[in-house]
Each structure stands twice: as structure tokens, then as C-alpha cells.
């Protein structure tokens, strides 16, 4: 059993208290407000901004406009691509759920940033000795039996922290009891093998225009680490085959040359 968070975006009022709580718990520096075209602030996640609320105004089927507030942070995949690609094992998924990062191992190659299907790991570009930074799911708070800072500060109950199985049940229950309220899908249920952040939204991510901004819907249900593992599983066989062929051909070709030379001698 692992911990997860149900993010019911229909309950979010866009107050951004979670952003503030995250900054203060992780002791991250403040920054001048920079608004996106739709009043999200800040505009991007960064090494000192682990979460943000994306503001989106979209038309409902009846034509009326309404606001959507979508929280973005590390999805804490059940089988994370970042953990799979990291050459030094700096990123690890804990059995309890959080995907955590070890400052002491990282070499700064940034392959995790390339591989993450949600583009979550961020680099400390401003520092001479930079590390990767991302949401930790407040692993250290969880270890003390506390809920993550964002969830404990949310005033509307949009962020529900608990066991993944129970939250999935709760999400399906909500979809069943109030179908008019939701787009009929739990984002994170099965995508890339499942994530610890589960989303309920009023509209699909395509309608919200977010499917290419961190909430892709075409990722499939296979964890991306599988491609790397499949490749790596062939390495011993390839090494043996190439090595065997090389040695074999070396002796074969040498022998052929020797035989040819001898025949040449006889004829000559």
C-alpha cells in the first residue's frame, strides 16, 4: 500500500495557499509575481517552485465560460522514468509512495529532465554547483505521519491525502455520484503505469489546453522505464554474441588466409 493524493480540481478555488505552504515548508525563496496570459503565477515550475496552480478559462458544453484551477507538481509515478534513467540511482521511489532525490549521488547529467513524461525535474541553473529539484511529496513529513504541506493547508479539501487504493475508490465514487460535475476519467489511475497524484477535472485536459503542458493524455499505460530495461536486458547477450563472433571470425579468417597462402605456394 502506498500513499497518494486525490486532486479534485472542481473543488479548487485558485487561492494558491498550497504554493505558499510548499515554499515555506521547503524553505524556497520568493520571487516577483509573473503572470501568465491566464493569471497563473508563477509562469513555470522551477528549481525553487515545486508546485503551481494553472488557471484556465474554458467553455462548458452549454457555452458558458468557467474557470479551472489545475495544480501541477511531481506526479510521483509508481514506476518512474526518472528513477529508471538516472545513471547513479539518485532518484528513488520509496515504497510509501514519494519519489525522492539524493543530493549526494547526482552528477548533474539531466537525463531525468529529458526522460520525465511530465517534465518535472528542474535544474538549479542559477548556481555554480547545481542540483535537481522537484516536489518531494513531503517525504520527510510523511515519515513523521504528517500529510504533505500543500494538502494540510488546502482550505477547500481539493487535496486529499491518503492510501492510493482508497483514494481511487473515492474518485470513482465521486464520478459515479456526480457525473455532471466531472470529465469521466481519473488522470493518474493508469497513465504511464499509474501515478500517486490522481486528478479529477471538470473537463478533459485537451479541452483545458493542458495536454501539451504537463498533462499529456497520449502517454499510454506502460511505464517508460520499460524501454530502457528492455534494452538493458539484451546487453549481456549482445556482448557475448559480438565477442563470440569477433573471436570466431578472427581465427576463421586467419586460417582461411593461411590455407590460401599454402595453396598459392603449391601452385606457384
Amino acid at each position: 500500500m502506498s500513499k497518494a493524493m486525490l486532486i479534485d480540481t472542481t473543488k479548487c478555488i485558485g487561492c494558491r495557499a498550497c504554493q505558499v505552504a510548499c515554499k515555506s515548508w521547503n524553505d524556497l525563496p520568493g520571487e516577483p509575481a509573473a503572470y501568465s496570459e491566464t493569471w497563473s503565477s508563477p509562469r513555470y515550475l522551477s528549481s525553487h517552485q515545486y508546485t503551481r496552480i494553472i488557471f484556465r478559462e474554458a467553455a462548458a458544453p452549454d457555452g458558458s465560460l468557467r474557470w479551472h484551477f489545475i495544480k501541477r507538481q511531481c506526479m510521483h509515478c509508481l514506476d518512474p522514468a526518472c528513477e529508471s534513467v538516472c545513471p547513479v540511482g539518485a532518484l528513488k521511489r520509496l515504497p510509501e509512495g514519494p519519489v525522492v532525490y539524493d543530493d549526494g549521488r547526482c552528477i548533474g547529467c539531466r537525463y531525468c529532465m529529458m526522460a520525465c513524461p511530465f517534465q518535472i525535474p528542474k535544474f538549479e541553473w542559477g548556481k555554480a554547483v547545481p542540483l535537481i529539484r522537484k516536489c518531494t511529496f513531503c517525504a520527510e513529513r510523511q515519515a513523521e505521519g504528517l500529510a504533505p504541506a500543500c494538502a494540510s493547508t488546502c482550505p477547500t479539501g481539493a487535496l486529499l491525502f491518503g492510501e492510493r487504493e482508497e483514494l481511487l475508490r473515492e474518485a470513482r465514487h465521486r464520478l459515479g455520484t456526480a457525473p455532471e460535475r466531472y470529465y469521466p476519467q481519473v488522470y493518474g489511475d493508469r497513465i504511464v503505469g499509474g501515478t500517486s497524484k490522481l486528478y479529477l477535472t471538470a473537463a478533459s485536459f485537451e479541452e483545458l489546453g493542458l495536454n501539451h503542458r504537463g498533462f499529456r493524455t497520449d502517454l499510454g499505460e506502460v511505464p517508460y522505464g520499460i524501454y530502457g530495461r528492455a534494452w538493458m536486458s539484451k546487453v549481456p547477450l549482445v556482448a557475448l554474441t559480438v565477442g563470440g563472433l569477433a573471436v570466431g571470425l578472427h581465427y576463421l579468417n586467419r586460417r582461411l588466409a593461411a590455407v590460401q597462402a599454402r595453396q598459392g605456394d603449391k601452385e606457384g
Binding site: Y44, L45, S46, A81, S84, V85, C86, P87, V88, G89, A90, R105, C106, I107, G108, C109, R110, Y111, M113, M114, A115, P117, Q119, K122, F123, E124, W125, G126, K127, A128, V129, P130, L131, R216, D218, L219, Y224, G225, Y227, G228, R229, W231, M232, V235, V238, A239, V242, G243, A246, V247, L249, H250, N253, R254, L256, A257
Partner: protein, 380 residues
């Protein structure tokens, strides 16, 4: 018996304008590298969260390693396929492969956020990571290449016993080198297996590993031809025109095979290549202009037997390998974000200085080690 000479080539030791430019570039690069180390990647590069990998990964790492593929290609030609007539090409290929990897490691070190931790993969393992495997293979293969160059140095200084010892285990080194090269040349492509959703369909192929491997052979072979022709020109030597045309025929065959692989891959995945936008333009230039064209050119005997023809054919083929690596790592990734990337002054200078340093070191090593058969340094 090899001719003994005091001077390698008429102008040896003279300070030519070209040499001045190369030294200046290296010095500029060294200063830039220091600035990068003290002020960090953000201050000196145009890399960002949207473009974590830039020029250094595309050129210094991906293209550099492919172009340095001449080492294992030549070793396989001579020792595995027993094509002894190409032996004069072997030693320059070893030198340039060693230098290629040395410079690639310097470039990679500067690209890492924590350069002094470059050794971490040795003790901190993650066997499911393709990059972990690349790190190990590159580490071991560079060691093999270093031993190879060491043997040349031992020959130069007449340490017959040690040379004898290494000759006895030489097949082990050759086979290890070929295994390690096969693995990491293809695995550099396999790094991109994990991010198909970010890449253009044109390059996001499950076959990218084998494609990288075959194009590394092209990179290696074309660089061997270029080096032979260019160093002959620089040193006032005769290029090996007795064997280069046959070698170029081999290159044209590999190019045809690679062309077939690329076309099959695109066709099997049902990708439409006839769309008019930037990635498709670069893809067609890569496939038709830098794989198809040199394959055709080098399959014509008239072209193969002229120095100019060889230079053109091999030049385009080598450029094509570089273009492919840029396409996979930048063009392909470009359409994914609303941001764009162009390397900064420091990134460009450091890359140029690595190339300049490579040329100077190549010159230094060929002058001081028994690389070219017909010449040996006069001892004493």
C-alpha cells in the same frame, strides 16, 4: 625499412597562421571552461529547463563519439576480417579514436552539473539505466584506447619486452574494444528510447539503437578517409591512394545498408515524410543529401579513385552523421516546446576549442609516435 627523418614534414616546428588560430582557440576555450566552472551552467550556456541538453550533448558527446568510431571499425577490419592491406590506416585511426574519446570526456565533464562526480557511476550503480551502461562502456573503452596508444609509445621508446607482452594479449583488447563500442555506440541512441513522446516521429524509432551503431561505423570510416587525405596534405605526404578507393567502396556499402535501414524504419512505422516544415526539411537533407548522395558518389569508381571525390564523399558522409545526431537531439525535440534554443558564445567556443585541441594533439602524437608506416623518428 622505414625511412628515418629528422623532420616529419617540411614545415614542422614552424609557426603557421593555422597553428596560431588553433592555439588561440584552445586558450579561449580553456578560459571559457574556467568561467563555466566558476559561474555555472546557467550563467554561461543557453540551456534551460526546456532544453536541458544542448550543443555539448549533440556535438561533443553524440557526434564526437560516432566520428571516433574509426578505432573499433579499423580494429575489426584488420584483426577480425583479416583485411591486412588496410593496415596503414589502423594507427592513425587508433590515435584519432583515443583523442576523440578524450575530448568527449572533457566536453561531458563541462556539461555535468557536478563535474567532479563524473566517477560516481563506478560505485553508484543503476543497472536499469542505459546511461549507466554508456558510462561504463565509455570508461572501459577509453582505457582500451589508452593502452593502445601506450603500446605505440612503448614501441617508440623501444621497450621490446613490454610491447611483446601487450602483443600477446592484443586480441583480448581488440575483442573488448569491439564489444564495448557495439554496446555504447548503439546505447547512445537507446538513450532516446525513453522519450518518444517528446520527439518528432521522424527520429523516435524503436530501431534507434541499431541505427546509431551503423551510422557510427559510417562516422568512423569517413573520418579515417578524411584524416588520411587531410594529414597527407598537411604533412606533404602521399595519401594512401592504393587502398583508399577500396576502403571507400566499403563505406559506400555501409551507407547503402544504412539508407535501407532508415527507409525501412520510416516505411514500417508509416511516417509521412512529405510534409513541409523544419524537421521534415532536415530529415530529407539528412537522408537524401548526406546518406543517399555519398552512397551514390562513393559507389562510382571514378569518384573513389580521385582525391577530390573521396574528400567530397567522405566529407558529406561524416557531416551526415553529425547532422543525424543534431536532428535526434535538437531538431526532433524542438517542436515540443514553445521555447527555442541556440547555443551561447561560451558553448560554441568550448566546442570549437575541443576540435582545435584535437587537431593539435593529433599532430603532436603523429609526430612523436610510430603512426605512419613509412616514417619513423630518427632516434638519438
Amino acid at each position: 625499412m622505414a625511412e628515418q627523418v629528422k623532420k616529419w614534414y617540411p614545415g614542422e616546428g614552424k609557426i603557421t597562421p593555422a597553428r596560431v588560430v588553433l592555439y588561440l582557440l584552445v586558450m579561449l576555450g580553456a578560459v571559457s571552461a574556467l568561467i563555466r566552472l566558476f559561474f555555472g551552467l546557467g550563467a554561461t550556456t543557453n540551456l534551460s529547463d526546456a532544453y536541458p541538453w544542448g550543443l555539448w550533448i549533440s556535438f561533443d558527446v553524440l557526434a564526437g563519439v560516432a566520428l571516433a568510431g574509426g578505432g573499433f571499425t579499423m580494429a575489426a577490419t584488420i584483426y577480425i576480417f583479416n583485411l591486412k592491406k588496410f593496415e596503414p590506416l589502423l594507427r592513425p585511426a587508433k590515435i584519432s579514436a583515443f583523442l576523440g574519446y578524450l575530448l568527449f570526456i572533457i566536453g561531458l565533464t563541462l556539461d555535468l552539473g557536478q563535474p567532479w562526480r563524473i566517477w560516481h557511476p563506478m560505485i553508484m550503480w543503476n543497472p536499469q539505466s542505459v546511461l549507466f551502461e554508456v558510462a561504463w562502456c565509455v570508461m572501459l573503452y577509453t582505457a582500451v584506447l589508452a593502452i593502445d596508444v601506450l603500446i605505440l609509445a612503448l614501441e617508440r621508446f623501444r621497450k621490446e619486452k613490454l610491447v611483446q607482452f601487450f602483443r600477446q594479449i592484443y586480441l583480448v583488447l581488440v575483442v573488448a574494444g569491439i564489444i564495448l563500442s557495439t554496446l555504447h555506440q548503439s546505447s547512445l541512441g537507446a538513450l532516446y528510447l525513453l522519450l518518444p513522446e517528446k520527439m518528432s516521429d521522424l527520429w523516435a524509432s524503436q530501431a534507434i539503437g541499431p541505427l546509431f551503431f551503423v551510422s557510427a561505423i559510417i562516422g568512423g570510416m569517413s573520418m579515417i578517409i578524411l584524416e588520411s587525405l587531410l594529414s597527407a596534405r598537411a604533412y606533404g605526404r602521399q595519401p594512401e591512394m592504393n587502398i583508399l578507393p577500396d576502403f571507400a567502396r566499403g563505406l559506400s556499402i555501409v551507407l547503402i545498408a544504412y539508407f535501407a535501414m532508415k527507409v525501412t524504419d520510416i516505411y514500417a512505422r508509416g511516417v509521412n515524410v512529405l510534409v513541409w516544415d523544419r524537421p521534415h526539411f532536415f530529415f530529407l537533407v539528412e537522408l537524401v543529401g548526406t546518406v543517399g548522395l555519398p552512397a551514390l558518389l562513393l559507389s562510382l569508381p571514378a569518384v573513389r579513385h580521385s582525391e577530390k571525390g573521396l574528400l567530397t564523399g567522405a566529407g558529406i558522409a561524416a557531416f551526415g552523421v553529425v547532422l543525424n545526431r543534431f536532428n535526434v537531439s535538437l531538431t526532433s525535440y524542438g517542436g515540443y516546446r514553445e521555447f527555442s534554443y541556440f547555443p551561447s558564445f561560451f558553448e560554441i567556443i568550448i566546442t570549437l576549442s575541443l576540435v582545435a585541441g584535437g587537431i593539435l594533439l593529433f599532430d603532436f602524437l603523429t609526430r612523436n609516435l610510430p603512426v605512419y608506416h613509412e616514417l619513423t623518428r630518427e632516434s638519438g
